[in-house]
């Protein structure tokens, strides 16, 4: 069973964003993905990682709603329940 605690979700998402090239010091719940230079290709890859790690499938409409790091964490946490 996957660890779906908010802390773990936050860790996976943060680590992914760093892999994509985001500045680790700039990542916070309120940080805008656009400001972190996270683009649609990064989000497509993040969706794959989230699906693998948490079994949560995000549609392109879901992804379009994600504006901040916190949005992503909350959406995954809500769906992974």
């Amino acid at each position: 069973m996957a660890d779906t605690s908010i802390e773990h979700i936050q860790k996976v998402i943060t680590e992914s964003l760093v892999t994509f090239g985001a500045d680790p010091d700039a990542i916070s719940r309120d940080a805008q993905l656009e400001a972190l230079d996270v683009d649609s290709l990064d989000l497509a890859e993040l969706s794959q990682i989230i699906e693998e790690q948490f079994g949560v499938e995000l549609t392109s409409n879901d992804v379009a709603e994600i504006k901040t790091v916190g949005d992503a964490i909350d959406m995954v946490a809500e769906r992974a329940k």
């Binding site: 290709l41 497509a44 890859e45 794959q48």
Partner: protein, 254 residues
């Protein structure tokens, strides 16, 4: 700006990955499978109906010390690409190189082509290329390595009376190649097209010999000459080449 040049280190084939060549039971596809195997890739030899040809391709690769498996599947069927990739994973591992070679022609003047002749050429030449590429890109972007080579044609960029469906499909393959390539370039994945001219295969059987006179090189090409271009684009050396079309046509398109 952008990635440091030292990141070029990531543009190397991951250990344990393989090549998938569609339509590899004969002609250009078979030659590509053999060439990639000679470069050390385990090769999945996909075929639709030519089981004897696919087995012969596998046998040729194994005789040369390579590794290959034949996998049946009509890639024009939208359900097949996912199944095919699953089978490739099981038998040979993740796909590092995809060569979308499967193609067919159903010639006729544009004014008299049937809907079926239009659609099945588009489904195989373009639809299958898209669906297979989409499926492998998901894993390639994660691996930070990938080589997709789409077999186009000089017909498409250039007119050829009697092949409006084929020309439309191949021109679209080149357009698809360019745009998909720029989308994933920063993940170490390259997507290129190879555009053969007049190549001596079953597919060009029945084409009048005078046609070779229109080729500046004054002869038809060999499948192995197309395969060499594909093998180059699949190699580590070609890591900075993407979104381009390499013509293998004896100068026909010039």
């Amino acid at each position: 700006m952008g990635r440091d040049v030292s990141d070029a280190d990531q543009d190397r084939r991951p250990a344990g990955s393989c090549a998938l060549v569609t339509g590899a039971s004969r002609g250009i596809g078979a030659a590509i499978a053999v060439a990639l195997a000679a470069d050390g890739w385990p090769v999945a030899v996909n075929y639709r109906s030519g089981v004897a040809g696919a087995d012969a391709t596998v046998a040729a690769i194994e005789a040369a010390g390579g590794r290959a498996v034949a996998l049946q599947g009509d890639v024009a069927d939208p359900a097949i690409p996912a199944q095919l990739l699953e089978a490739v994973h099981e038998r040979l591992g993740p796909v590092g190189v995809l060569v979308n070679n499967a193609g067919l022609r159903a010639d006729g003047l544009a004014l008299s082509l049937s809907d079926d002749d239009w659609q099945r050429v588009l489904d195989t030449n373009l639809g299958a290329t898209y669906r297979l590429t989409r499926a492998v890109l998901r894993e390639m972007i994660r691996a930070r390595f990938g080589r997709v080579v789409n077999i186009a044609s000089v017909v498409g960029p250039r007119a050829n009376a009697g092949q409006a469906n084929y020309a439309a499909s191949k021109a679209a393959v080149i357009a698809f190649t360019k745009t998909a390539a720029v989308e994933v370039a920063r993940r170490g994945v390259t997507i290129n097209a190879v555009a053969p001219g007049l190549i001596d295969t079953d597919m060009t059987e029945g084409i009048p010999p005078q046609l070779a006179e229109r080729v500046p090189a004054q002869r038809a090409g060999r499948p192995e000459e197309v395969a060499a271009a594909v093998a180059f684009l699949a190699s580590d050396a070609a890591g900075y080449i993407t979104a381009t079309t390499l013509y293998v046509d004896g100068g026909l398109s010039a």
